[in-house]
Symmetry: none
Subunit: 205 residues, 4 copies
Amino acid sequence: MSDAPSPPAPAPAPRKKRAEGTTREAILKAALELFSERGFHGTPVPLLAEKAGVATGSIYRHFESKEALANALYQHWRNAQLNAWFGGFPVHLSERAQFHELWRRMAAFYKANPLVFVWLEQHNHAAYLDEESLACTKRVLRPTTAFVKLAREKHLLKPLPAKLLVAIADGIFMGMVRFATAQHFELDEEVLDAAEQCCWEAMRK
Amino acid sequence: MSDAPSPPAPAPAPRKKRAEGTTREAILKAALELFSERGFHGTPVPLLAEKAGVATGSIYRHFESKEALANALYQHWRNAQLNAWFGGFPVHLSERAQFHELWRRMAAFYKANPLVFVWLEQHNHAAYLDEESLACTKRVLRPTTAFVKLAREKHLLKPLPAKLLVAIADGIFMGMVRFATAQHFELDEEVLDAAEQCCWEAMRK
Amino acid sequence: MSDAPSPPAPAPAPRKKRAEGTTREAILKAALELFSERGFHGTPVPLLAEKAGVATGSIYRHFESKEALANALYQHWRNAQLNAWFGGFPVHLSERAQFHELWRRMAAFYKANPLVFVWLEQHNHAAYLDEESLACTKRVLRPTTAFVKLAREKHLLKPLPAKLLVAIADGIFMGMVRFATAQHFELDEEVLDAAEQCCWEAMRK
Amino acid sequence: MSDAPSPPAPAPAPRKKRAEGTTREAILKAALELFSERGFHGTPVPLLAEKAGVATGSIYRHFESKEALANALYQHWRNAQLNAWFGGFPVHLSERAQFHELWRRMAAFYKANPLVFVWLEQHNHAAYLDEESLACTKRVLRPTTAFVKLAREKHLLKPLPAKLLVAIADGIFMGMVRFATAQHFELDEEVLDAAEQCCWEAMRK
DNA sequence: CATGAATGAGTTTTCATTCAT
DNA sequence: TATGAATGAAAACTCATTCAT
């Protein structure tokens, strides 16, 4: 009815200026590190902000919600992956050579962004991923499946469901990555080539 | 503030009667379902209690904490897995036959407890796992690695690090499972055998 | 990828036990006082909890959200008002006597719950009120309007829209209440009767 | 993190040009609309800025704080009201005629600024109003009270406290306004005259 | 004088855990 | 041993305010 005490004193704030888009990038970078280390639900936003070197509130200036941030991150990296794996792919090569090229690209992408691979694979079906994120996942799977189908038609690969072959290849790559991860993220040429050979022999007719 | 007459009977506390040990199991069952679906941090204890059909407080009668519950669950299933995979294993068979046997057992265990596989694989290095849980993981890995080493020594498998071979085999199995899950069909004999063959060819010299 | 520090230590908590329904009542009481004093948006939930003598979290055990609390409060008091104004109303009396009776009841209700009247009137169209709350408002208006229509038909009141007459009467009552509020909530018999007479003369033919 | 090339042109800061004083007025206009619709605490400054078509920071170029803005707005309109109600008031007329004139002026002011009336009436004792704002309120009340006292002395009005009579008249006016608002029609002559007559009969001896 | 990203305290809400019954 | 209301610290999110440009 009458006078209620006004809030204590709305606090000032030191300022920082960053180059265009830098804040967003910093947040995405921190999110990748923390999400892959501790999981989505295991990562509090303030921790994320601290790691990104920004204030908690700034997160929400760039992303609608924590969930939206996770989706943006997911889509960003799925797209980057799609590009790294298939951008300007040399389709004129023989199937075996194409496979080699793809394997190399996958490895290169992993080496450049070791956390990304782990995160993408582990959070495939997380409840917080939206339609668009799931669509991105499919977009990456499509060319792989197409390639496998073609090679299978040419009787180079086993007459198994293309998706099964893809799943197996993916599994082998993931196994190799896990092995590398256990060895402190070192993925040397030798292992890479060996795993590629394993994979090819797993699939080939 | 007072227009509803207070209820005449003070409602005696309902008490649920359960067979011995059943409550604990109901909790573990609910935990498995929820943890594998939503993750550890994504699963509130009250929800867990509801799914288990017990009161929230009852959880703490059976487990020290949520973390302790997760570890108990993890250890329970790692041990079950160890037993299912290697209990009374026919070590007298040929390596190829042993591999076949193992593959079959892995599949059988997966079919019997599909969620377990998913959960165990995904939460390998989670922060909430204690020493004992990690020890359980190693205990499962040991016989597999030993088998691979032996077969490799006999020049049946490629001369690669045993851990890499194991990781690859594991990856293929996981790929197969994912494939089955994605296609919404039971892991049938055909796919199972095909994947086994792929796996063997991946590893063999 | 590896061990993230588990949360600091999830804090214990002293307990309190209250009679059935007491907590809810305490919350509603505190909410009435604070909402009418500082408005809905001007009242932080922790303050509300403190005033109610409960923990912040307890609010959410009894109400879905702050908004739901406001609606529950609103509906509670609108219903109480309906009952106080019209419960067992002596419809056999003359119109003038009925008006007197109603005026007395309105005053009695105000005297018993001074804050309620103010709050109900001021927050009539607040954005946070739901369907049911608005329906409650209408339910209170209906008998008043019906009474006015009847008296107007008997040529006791001016031939004006019933809703206008009701609005005017309501306005006078509110004016009286504001006057009383300014005088430290004292609403003495004299003022009450005088205002009643004013109101009747405002409406009568 | 880096697959999009940074934009070629660094985008020069857009600057809005407005006629002198227009920005301040745009802010006040937006504030009136939002404060009367959602209340002071329910209106975020960024929303206000958006509605006013200015940047958030610009608000603080024209007003010390949100609270200061509310007070400026309040005072602005209380003064406007004072002027509209009593500026050059024809004090030579008979009391009844003066009352008619006042009623007309009140209605005219309401019609010209419907939101103002609502806001002024509802936020009379809000905690964020400062001394000066409250003084403005009193300044509007003074001539009304004086007029009522005079008329009462001349035995034209009931021998009641002047403040009660004023409160009643105010209540009737508000009731009329609410009625018009609820019926979604303009305050027409007919209703206006009828309410005036009601009000006079409520107060007159 | 204008801008709007950045800030961090404050707000709403959740949830692991306790304990009187 | 089971219950579930109560707790309060921490989570997600908001917003008044500042300041580099």
